[in-house]
Symmetry: C2
Subunit: 160 residues, 2 copies
């Protein structure tokens, strides 16, 4: 079974290569980028300007091969890919919650961008705390002792 998607737009950012990037939006506070929507999808962003944060689902287009076990950026132990946010996934799909600053026609100005320049965008969803963050007893496994590293961590060349 093959599932075929087409980009709805392109994400632009200050990061022209994947090395040295913030690895999550919360490590990219204040970094601006933009989304240029493809013309045929502009009607679909109506009402989006009421939301402070949006979920971007995008194609990690620079990943050339996937790995099932990875050494993630915040650990020195090999982990299952699905227990990490590493990009070398069987389906290289990226997910970032970014701040929506402004919309000018087909141009969405965004902030807290941890995405490489030129990334194909697959979907935008409004971020709604009641949908994504509805519980109060989160456990984060191997990240428990490592999450403090997040804000200062930069990507390196390991997934090139």
């Amino acid at each position: 079974m093959e599932i075929i998607f087409k980009p709805i737009g392109t994400i632009y950012s200050p990061f022209n290569e994947t090395t040295g990037m913030p690895i999550q939006p919360s490590a990219a506070i204040g970094i601006h980028g933009c989304i240029i929507m493809n013309d045929e999808f502009i009607e679909g962003i109506k009402d989006l300007d009421g939301f402070s944060h949006i979920i971007l689902i995008y194609y990690l287009h620079l990943i050339e091969h996937s790995q099932l076990l990875v050494n993630p950026f915040m650990d020195s132990v090999e982990r299952g890919i699905f227990s990490t946010r590493a990009p070398a996934r069987p389906n290289p799909i990226g997910l970032s919650v970014v701040r929506l600053i402004d919309i000018q026609d087909n141009n969405l100005i965004i902030e807290n961008v941890d995405i490489v320049n030129g990334t194909p965008l697959l979907d935008i969803k409004p971020y709604v705390p009641e949908c994504e963050n509805y519980d109060d007893d989160y456990r984060i496994g191997w990240l428990t002792g490592n999450i403090y590293k997040l804000k200062n961590m930069k990507s390196d060349e390991r997934f090139k």
Copy 2:
């Protein structure tokens, strides 16, 4: 540009049709389902059992055509598809944060399932509050006066 993905597994749930379903995980508290991972990806779920919640990214396989403007379940006004969580998206990608109860070999038992039976799974990511819920000033646009409806809202036939 075409992007081709293949399922990594299948999501099973009590919902054999899309009508009458909870529309988000927070409206599906206590509803169990499971994921059967395809054999070739089992190695990738190593270490996932340490996480209480996981993000499922899946293919909304029953959507036959997309709409750029929709009447979402929680409103009576036409909204841009990207400002809603409605399924009739240009790329029909679903996103749910569910509770991970147990893992037995290639079978992941999950809870708070708002997903139709037989849905192809594209990716699993660990849910990490520090990644997705890192701000404190969320605005939710047209949902502001409607979000109270979420917990009791069921889907109907409008996106069939």
